[in-house]
């Protein structure tokens, strides 16, 4: 049963309402859209009902493919003394987009080129895209859903002595194999 409408607003507040209505909420960008879509598709593929102690719940099997840096458009921004905001890398085109595990502040190893005296101040991984590559069968006849996720990793260091800053950005690809025969 609906509540009776409250007293009508005075004209000046009604005019303010019209002004507010003219503001349009910012649209979701394509990465956010893909991320949210992937979240629901991933939830669809990984039901909560699975017993966490069972072998069937032993997923995801994660294989970090660092070698994919050469295949993808890896951008490296090096700026001692300067802060360089690298332009967003173009995300691969998406087919279906499931599996959204956002890895934030993942400890990343010190890559070549970073001085030892530099202190890492932040590390962030941002999910850019997810591609569902369908069901595969492993050598042990296990059916797995193969999901490939693409991240942009950004790591920042600072030299405490000079206050110079270094920021490295590079793309990372992960391959998930999720058992589907237990579903």
């Amino acid at each position: 049963m609906s509540t009776p409408s409250p007293d009508p607003l005075p004209e000046d507040l009604q005019e303010l309402e019209r002004t507010l209505t003219a503001l349009k909420p910012e649209a979701m960008d394509s990465v956010s859209q893909a991320r949210m879509t992937a979240a629901i598709l991933h939830a669809d593929a990984t039901p909560e009902a699975l017993d966490e102690t069972s072998a069937a719940h032993n997923f995801p099997i994660r294989q970090a493919i660092w070698g994919s840096l050469t295949a993808l458009a890896a951008s490296i921004a090096i700026a001692f003394g300067l802060i360089s905001n690298s332009a967003p890398l173009p995300a691969p085109s998406a087919a279906e987009v499931p599996a959204p595990i956002l890895v934030d502040n993942t400890p990343l190893s010190n890559p070549i080129g970073v001085p030892e005296y530099a202190t890492q101040v932040s590390a962030q991984s941002t999910l850019q895209n997810v591609v569902d590559e369908g069901i595969i069968q492993t050598e042990s006849q296990r059916r797995m859903r193969q999901l490939r996720t693409f991240y942009l990793d950004t790591v920042s260091w600072t030299d405490p002595a000079t206050e110079s800053k270094l920021q490295l950005s590079y793309q990372r690809e992960e391959l998930f194999l999720i058992p589907v025969d237990a579903i």
Partner: protein, 184 residues
């Protein structure tokens, strides 16, 4: 473990249920706005929205449907849980440290900015973001999420009269702030 909003009758105020893809396409920007209103920064807002969408989808039956009202309820509940979480507090502190180092602490943009957006609109947006949180969230849900007072009351778990009061006080506060800016 949060309970499903069982007392919600999503069909009472909302349009007939659509597929979750259609709901996301049509309402995603509104969900995003409410998540930004509930969160401290856009990164938290995106995380909260992701978690809330999955929970709302499961509560809607975990198939094709996604009830709009459930999404708003779970955004709010998830944001409350996030506020209590120590782990996320640490993450926010790290983000704040990064922002302070890079000097890039900028407020989250809630509304579209176009060349035609006049100074008045920017002032209105700034004034909305300065409202007390309880008035702010009612305005967001009423004006931009286009929910009824009854639906907002179910989302916030308060009475419809309380919602109506917060709405009126929120508009009055906004009017006062904008009048002050106009005189300045």
């Amino acid at each position: 473990m949060l309970s499903q909003p069982a007392d919600m009758d999503p069909t009472e105020d909302a349009a007939p249920p659509s597929s979750w893809r259609d709901v996301l396409a049509e309402h995603g920007h509104r969900f995003q706005l409410y998540a930004r209103q509930q969160a401290r920064n856009d990164a938290d807002a995106q995380d909260i929205l992701q978690e809330a969408l999955v929970k709302a989808w499961r509560a809607s039956g975990a198939k094709e449907r996604l009830e709009v009202g459930f999404v708003y309820t779970y955004i709010r509940r998830t944001a409350i849980d996030w506020g209590r979480s120590q782990e996320r507090r640490t993450r926010r502190e790290q983000r704040s440290l990064r922002d302070s180092i890079w000097g890039q602490s900028t407020p989250t943009v809630w509304f579209e900015r176009t060349l035609e957006t006049d100074e008045r609109h920017r002032q209105v947006e700034a004034a909305v973001q300065e409202l007390p949180p309880e008035q702010q969230e009612v305005l967001v849900l009423k004006i931009w999420a286009d929910l009824t007072f009854d639906a907002i009351a179910r989302t916030l778990e308060v009475s419809p009269n309380t919602v109506a009061s917060r709405y009126r006080y929120g508009l009055q506060n906004l009017k006062r702030t904008l009048s002050t800016l106009k005189k300045a």
